[in-house]
Amino acid sequence: MLAIRTEALTKDYAVGFWRKRPYRALDRLTLEVAAGEVFGFLGPNGAGKTTTLKLLMQLIYPTSGRAELLGRPAGDVDGRRRIGYLPENPYFYDHLTAEELLTYFAAVFGYRGRARRDRVARLLDEVGIGVERRLQLRKFSRGMLQRVGIAQALLNDPALVVFDEPMSGLDPLGRRDVRRLILRLRDQGVTVFFSSHVLSDAEALCSRVAVLAGGRLVASGRLGDMAAFQVRGWELVMTGLDEARVDRVRDRLLGATRIGDGRYALELPLESAPDRLVAELSAAGAELVSLNPVRDTLEDFFVEQVTRSAASAPPRWPAGGGA
């Protein structure tokens, strides 16, 4: 079953003051996200990620195309009972405490009495909001608001969560907590669809990603299947080496970098056998620290796709829309 399906989803905005003209924020996005997967929606700023997420939540209406969430059209009110949404840089009511905000939203879902109190308390515990839950939200830092935002998105035990930049504003501990939370949701069978431009998050969490640039989908698929992530060499780190020893094997290396104190990072081509070189250098008194395969990172892939898209992109002004 599909958790999210979009078909040629397009959004034009009217821009300009006197002479309005359409600006294409999202261009015929067709995407499928299977139930139970963690899907990363990547792209640089202005790529159309937030526009897509707002279309899915029907905070904005599409110019053309369609979207379905959990088998229902986007915007279906009853369908939202099974969906959680965290907007980008969430902002809530200053006058409410975190506890009151969640109680308010829980009431919208129809939770009452003790069940509501327990649910609110459990979620605030889960996102790490302790005694601060009785403080008014105007006193919260951005990171704490982000945590409250995540808690409110999970109030209804959703089958699908849509997070817009969930790591935004969080410190390293907060990022680690959110990563764990996303993995826990995945283990519970929840589909997680999140936008990000922090690629390490996507690498750590996602089974599949889609890359958006200039309002268009430029790549999508399983991280492991993408050619860019195949092994293209080896990186060997050894201690007890000196410049003379490295020079003796330099013709077999793609590169050698001195890290310090007799420690060197040696880069080998894929076809070479790193174990033979390790044995040879060990015999000469060196010691192995680490041996790792070298792959292109998601960042390399991302930069390549976005650059290629920028070079070949059609104008974002649809036909008849001006310059």
């Binding site: 009110v77 009853d78 939202r80 907007p87 902002y91 809530f92 409410l96 009151e100 308010y104 009431a107």
Partner: protein, 271 residues
Amino acid sequence: MKALRVVGTIAVSVFRESVRDKVLYNLVFFALLLISASYLIGQLTAGQDVKIIKDLGLAAMLLFGLFIAVFIGIGLVSKEVERRSIYSLLAKPIRRHEFIAGKYAGLVLTLAVNVAVMAVALYLVLACMAVTEPAAVRAAWEAPAVDPAMLEAILLIFVELMLVTALALFFSTFSSPILSASFTVGLVIAGQFDSDLKHFRAIVHSRVVADLTRALYYVLPNMAAFDVKAQVVHGLPVTAGYLAVTTAYGVSYVAAVVLAAMVIFARRDFR
């Protein structure tokens, strides 16, 4: 039933926000105004004091209510959109028209509490005067100090405030707070002269202008119709028929304006 629950939940939240924003502090000013005015007027006038207090009390009730209706009403929707708090809320199982209905009901609830407390305060001050004034002064009063007829004026003040709230909410669904305030206050002022438009035909020669003013007469809210303070203060009767028709007019106008707000809000993009 679900819709009612959602509307009620949003309304209670608006009421709570108003209370937290210290909106009800105006009640303290109102009480102080009445108590100090009754003391001062008692020193200056003979026989007119109750009339002046009633006049002042009812006018202050309307004025304070207008401030709340306009200055909270214009932010009801636009503030949520500007601050983006609406994103999380509308992603919940809420229909957009339920959001508008809840916001409106919440502010009307705030105004109802406000008007009710002011009415009690006004009656208390008047009751004190009725007890403390000498019989000779009381004999000069056109109507008793504690006059149930004042409730008729208070009812129409409340309906007028409901109407102003609806107008502020309507403008708030598509324009900025400053523009919403300007439009709402403009309509409230124009509405005071609405009945004059009806007779414009007699003093203009242009048929176009006459038709235009006639059309405006029907479109603009007739605010003056809600003002029965003078009759009540002077002990003149306000018929039940007038009360019923004026209330029905106000409620119908409110329904039309809130419906228009719902239609506009349902089509909006929250960029």
